[in-house]
Each structure stands twice: as C-alpha cells, then as structure tokens.
Symmetry: C2
Subunit: 452 residues, 2 copies
C-alpha cells in the first residue's frame, strides 16, 4: 500500500527529480584529469544535506569520500550504500551526438557522461530517501553513504579508507548500484565480483631493430620469446599452467551451481551483443566460465612493424599486457608471486611489472539478507531478479566483504546498453525512476529483516 | 703493368669523375614515388653514350631498364653488369646533416641519397670502362649493362624482363656491385643470396574489442590464437616445424663448409654492431646460420592495447607479419603453399596473405670463374676477398642464376657504414675510386679466362 503511494509520488515529481539529476550531471568530475572534483563534492554534499542526510567530506590520499548518514535508531538494520561521484573522461569527443556534459533526452534516454556510471544510479538512491521521507516519514532503517571519487581510477585509496574507518562504516549490508542490468532487461542481484591482476611484460632482443636478412637467426627475436613464454602459461583447453594458480580457487557450492543452471540465456542474442557469431556455449558453461572460473587474457601484444605492406626487421622489443580475472579465494598478491616465478623459470630475462591488483569477492547465496534483497527487487521490477554468484568483471567489492566483513550485493539500475566508458553514455529515463522505486522497496523490506 | 697505368690515370681524373658522379646523384630518381625517373634514365643514357656504350631504354610494366652494351668480339667473354638507377625516398628529411640530393663531402665520404645504393657503385663500373678505354683501348671482353629502375621497390618486373630478353642478355657471368663490404673493411665476393617469403596473418575474435571481465573466457582472443599457431611453427631450438619446409634445402658442399670456417669473425665487434651484448656464437655457427640456413621471423605482432597503463580488453583482431629467409633450393611459391596448409590445419580461420616472394640463389664456389673474380678483387684491394656462399639478405639474384642460367657474383664496393636506406647515406671517396679500379681488374682478369 505505502509503496504504491511512493510510486505515485515519484510520478508527480518526475520533472523535479530529472532537474536535480541534470544539475549533478552538468557538474564535471573527471577523477583521472582532476577536473571539477572539488565542485562536485560540494554540490553532492548540498544535495544530500537538502534531503536531511548528515554529511561530511572524509579525506583520502586522493579525492575525498562524501560520507553521509541517517541514523534514526542504532538498533535498526544499517544499510551502507556505496557509489561514486567521479566519471570517465569524455573523449573521443567527436563521437558524441550531443555535448558530453549537457544532459540530453533522446529516445527515452538521458545522454551524458556519468548518466549511467554512476551519477544516475547514485541519484536514484538519494531520491529514494527523499521520496520515502516525503511520503512515509522517518526511515525504518539506518543508512550510511560512501560516495567515493576515484572509482574510475581503480579505487586506489578505498581499501585503506575502509580499514581506517571500520567503526564509522559499521553496517549489516553493503548495497551497490553500478553497471548494467541483464541483457534481457531483467534485474540482477550480483553476489560478488572477479578480482584482477594486471601485468605488463617486456622482452628485449638487440638494442635496436635489426635487418631480418643480414641478422636473421643471429639476433634473438623478443616476439618469439614472448610467444614461447605465453605457450607455457595456458594449454589449448584454456587450463592455466602457472604452478599453484588454482590452489585457492573456492569450490562452488551446490546452491551456486544450481543458481547458474537456472539463469536466463539466449545464445543467439548474446553472440550478437559480443559480436561473435561463432558463440555456441551452453548456459551452464557460459555462467560457469564467466562467474566461477578465472581467466588469463592477452589485452595487448605489440612488437615490430605494424604499418601497411612489409618491413623486414627483427624487432628490438616486444611488449605484452595481460589481465587475469581471479575468483574467490585467489589473492592477486599470491598469484602475482606465482606469475613472477613462472616467468623467472621460463624466460628469466623478460621483465614483469604489475599495473593493478583487485581481490575477488563473494557473498554466500544462501544468506538470509540476500533473500530479502531478492524479494525487494522482485517487487520493484515485478519479475524475479537474476541471482548470479559473481560478476564477470571487477569492482572493489572485497573492501566490504573482506575488510569491513559484511555481506555485499550489487543491484545495477542502468540499462544494458548504457555505454559506460564510451561515447554517448546514457541511462534510460525509466531505468532511473525504477531505480528510485527499487531502493524504496529495499528500505521497506530491510525494515522487516529478522537477521540470519 | 697496365693496371698501374690505369691507377695513375684514375688519380689524375679524380675531380672529373667526382663531378660526373655528383651530376648523377643530383638527379632524383625515387621509384616508389615516381620522382625524376624519366630524367634519370635520359641522363644515365647520355653518360653511357658518352663512354661509347650503345644504349637503349627497354620498357617493363614499371620503370624502364637502361640497357647498354659494348660488343667488340662475340667470341670474347661476356660480362653482364647489373645495377639500379633508382633510390630510396629521403625521409626522414630532418635527420640529414646536409641536403639529401646535394652531394656533400665530409670526413672523406660523399653524403647523398643513392651515393652508396646504388649510383656510386654503378658509376664506378661505368668509369672503369671509360678509364680502361682511355688508357688501354678497346675492351678485351664484351660487356652488357642492365640498370633497372625498380630495385628499391622489390624489382617486381625484373624476372619477366629477363625471361623476355634471354637472347639479348646472354652472358658468361653476371656481376653486381651493391651493398656494403665486410665490417672489417675487407672486400667480399658473395656467391648468392637467401630468398624470401613475406606473409601477413590476421586472426579475428569478436567483431569489436570486448571487456575482458564481462566477456573474459567467453569471446575467443585472436592474440592467443596466433600465439598457439606460432607455437606449432617452430620449436625452441629454432627448428621450423612446417611440414616439408626443409625438403628442398641444398646440402652445403664440403667446399662451402670449408669456406665459412675460414671467414674472418670478431664476436665482440659483431655484438656491438647488432646491438646485442649476449651474442656468443662461434664463427662456424654464425656463418652457417646466416648463409646456409633458412629463418622464420616475426617482423611484427600487433593486437589490442599498446598505450600507457592498462586497458582491459579482449582484442577483436591480431595481426602478424612474418618473413622467411629461404636457402637454395627452397622455392617461395612451394613454401607458401606449405605455409598455407600448415595454417589451414592448425588455425583454419586465420587469414593468410602474401606480400612478396623472392627466390634464393647460389653460384657454386668451385666454379672457375669465381676463382678468376677472386683474383681480380684480391689484386684491386691487395688482400684476399671474403668468399661467402650467400648473403644473409635477399636480392633478385635468382633472375640470373635460374632464369638466365648463368653464374652470378656480388662484389660490394661501398663502405660497411654506407647507411643505405637511412638518412646520411654515403660512400667513402676511396671506396668509390677503389671500385673503379676493381672493375678494371675484373675486366683484365676475365680477358684471360679460359672457361670452366
């Protein structure tokens, strides 16, 4: 009953809510380039204070965290909402159909950098608080907000921030709305992420490019060196051959395996979306590989001549960029050590450096709070959400499950084609308003949560 | 006796001869850009006619051949001199220390595009004819000249030209002065070249780059595909695993093996010249690999992200450029067929195209005419030449040995650091004059040649 009142209230506030989102979107906040970050913090604080949220700017080694809370009764359930106010750079500018920092409505979508990732989803959560308070009154749960300013730069300071503020951030559940919904349009409840280890390898031959005829089979070829090294890392069945790589891989629970066997799956549609016509996995294989198995990927391999026609050289250098997606309980530091040992054994003169590490995370699918969130999402979207043990990609979700030590769920509000990180980023107008409603349902359901 | 007269004569003509070379050098003749080609042909014809050489312009599908001959007595030995009047483009212009088409003398060298490759060496041969005639009188041998205009573009029409003009070009020996002398400063007599097959491979995964997390181990990675394919082509001992690759490889003769064991060799100097401090081959291994064994080389491998930092993608495409240096009697067409079969077997969806093919060549080291050339070169340089079974690199030498069916020797006149194809190309002034003298000795020695 109260939810339909809220739904009507939101309908009456469409223009006001869109205005507020547009104001927030117009404020640039490109963390990588340090553009507009301070102004964005202040604006966000003002918006939150206007909703009765007590805020403070908490410093980190980088851009500050905008922290907020509504603590009506310490004995209530406490929900921590995580999001980020920073956005990706807008380039390539020429590929935008409207100015990247001027929100523009076309075909039922709001186009703007940050519309989907993450300002639209963050604002939907704030407007849910506002709507709930305006219609029902005081919140029946406590809410804490952690909006960081460095997610698009890999959240380098989030882990230490959480470590240093454990008491302040104490909560019963962490809730993140980021990324897109399922390609079918169905909502997601994601119970974790894969971690990541990103490395770069450099192989050297001669000090300069040599003539492949006059010096052929005399000067070692660094590209061959990397090819031979790569070949020791993975067999043709994609089994990773680095010693100990699988040691800490968590064996999926019955429940998790059961989960993935029931997930919706349209191989043809998926093949089109990834641009690979030869795609022919079964649902079980697809979700198992994407959520329960690690990868070792060549993200870039560059050596020698790449222009038109031919050039006959032995390249001086070959460079390789690789990312490994890790699954609980693989630890990127441990995997990096094993990776370095592997290279030292098979190609000792190849140089290895590490670009970034992120731990994987997983919240148990049989925890009671997950069931509650599932029900809330089902009520909001009038269809059961897709419960997936893990996202294929990586987010700093481990800071909640491992450092703060609480369960964490990810419920994306954006449309599948939100084009995050790309030109013409957008969020569907209905996705935005459904997101507001969904957070209200989450508040309502958690209010009645009885504990595990 | 007569040779010392010629030597004195050349000394007296230094300014006149340099003037003539400079005039020829100033005339641009960039075949790849079709700059100055017609003017260069006419100028070269005029110079040759001025020396009593009967010339004609012979058309090809590309730039014409400047053909010339002096046929005093059909029963005399006939020498065919091959060279080219075209030059490489001069860029990067900013790296030249003097204008690339204005011959400039510094440190005993003439700097100009084409100075070493090949106008200086070509002119040395013509001036030898002039000197010989002025001092001694009529030539004791017949001489034919084939100066082509497309060597710097890979001689695409030379084979068909020779095929169509077999009668006209009939000769007892082909003589080429191109490339540099040995790094020690000693003269070379090269008895052939390695051939070449240059291919490009393209592997595809998805139609566009995919996210390595959300699509990792779902979309095939084309870089891994090429890595796995490459690994089937060569073992870690550099043995090429393409079926039938070695079938037609000629077993070196005792004489050839003996030859390479006596060649001068300075591992430290060589390591410095190729920019590879780890170089530690023996002389025998070095020359065997460089002249008697084929290669399979990665000239370029490009896939995915190559910029600063990290980008987490599964590349859509991976491209590979490879050149194989072939040794007599490997036929590039046959090897290309075997290569295609290999790819079709191990990676059937990888696309293969051929950029260029050139056959290897070899003139037997025990042929009597080689002995004669060796003596002539030794007299000119007052030290025995380095007789090498093959050049590591490739030249269209097979058109003489295989199509015309005559022995062929390559006797470079330029200094080791001629910087051909690079900025500040040059020829040492003494290299130029020694080249004139060397051709005179060759004429003199061949006059007394008694046949095999």
């Amino acid at each position: 009953m109260s939810m339909s009142k809220i739904e009507n209230h939101i309908k009456g506030k469409r223009d006001e809510y869109l205005d507020l989102l547009f104001t927030f979107l117009r404020q640039k906040s490109i963390s990588a380039q340090n553009v507009g970050m301070e102004e964005a913090c202040i604006l966000l604080q003002e918006i939150m204070e206007g909703m009765g949220i007590k805020t403070q700017l908490l410093p980190t080694k980088g851009h500050p965290v905008v922290y907020g809370e509504i603590m009506n009764d310490p004995s209530n359930f406490t929900l921590l909402i995580y999001g980020h106010y920073d956005v990706q750079p807008a380039d390539p500018l020429e590929e935008w159909d409207s100015p990247p920092f001027e929100p523009t409505i076309r075909n039922g979508k709001i186009y703007c950098r940050g519309a989907g990732d993450n300002k639209g989803q963050l604002m939907a959560q704030l407007l849910a608080i506002k709507s709930y308070q305006e219609v029902i009154g005081d919140l029946p749960i406590n809410i804490k907000f952690v909006f960081e300013g460095e997610e698009e730069s890999g959240s380098p300071n989030l882990a230490s921030f959480v470590e240093e503020n454990k008491d302040l951030l104490k909560a019963d559940l962490v809730y993140t709305s980021d990324g897109p919904m399922h390609e079918s349009g169905a909502p997601f409840v994601l119970l974790g992420v894969r971690g990541m280890l990103y490395v770069e390898l450099t192989a050297k031959g001669g000090e300069w490019d040599n003539h492949s005829g006059n010096k052929g089979n005399i000067v070692p070829n660094p590209a061959w060196k990397l090819v031979e090294l790569l070949n020791t890392m993975k067999d043709s069945d994609d089994k990773i051959l680095i010693k100990g790589f699988y040691d800490d891989l968590r064996i999926p629970t019955e429940k998790e395996l059961e989960l993935i066997s029931t997930l919706p799956f349209d191989a043809k549609l998926l093949g089109e979306q990834i641009g690979y016509k030869g795609f022919d996995m079964t649902a079980e294989e697809y979700y198992r590989k994407l959520t329960l198995e690690p990868t070792i990927n060549i993200a870039g391999f560059h050596s020698g001549y790449g222009g038109e026609g031919s050039k006959t050289i032995i390249p001086a250098t070959a460079k390789l960029k690789m990312d490994m997606r890790l699954v609980v309980d693989q630890d990127p530091e441990d995997i990096y050590e094993k990776f370095q040992k592997h290279v030292a054994k098979y190609a000792p003169d190849v140089e290895v450096t590490c670009h970034s590490m992120m731990k994987p995370s997983r919240t148990p699918s049989d925890s009671k709070v997950v069931e509650t969130i599932k029900q809330a999402v089902e009520k909001a979207y009038k269809q059961p959400p897709i419960l997936q043990p893990s996202l294929g990609g990586s987010l700093p979700d481990y800071v909640w499950t491992q450092i703060l030590g609480v369960p964490s769920v990810i419920v994306p509000y954006a449309n599948f084609d939100e084009a995050n990180h790309s030109p013409n980023e957008n969020i569907g107008i209905e996705n935005f308003f459904n997101g507001i409603l969904c957070t209200c349902h989450v508040i309502e359901e958690l209010a009645g949560f009885e504990g595990n």
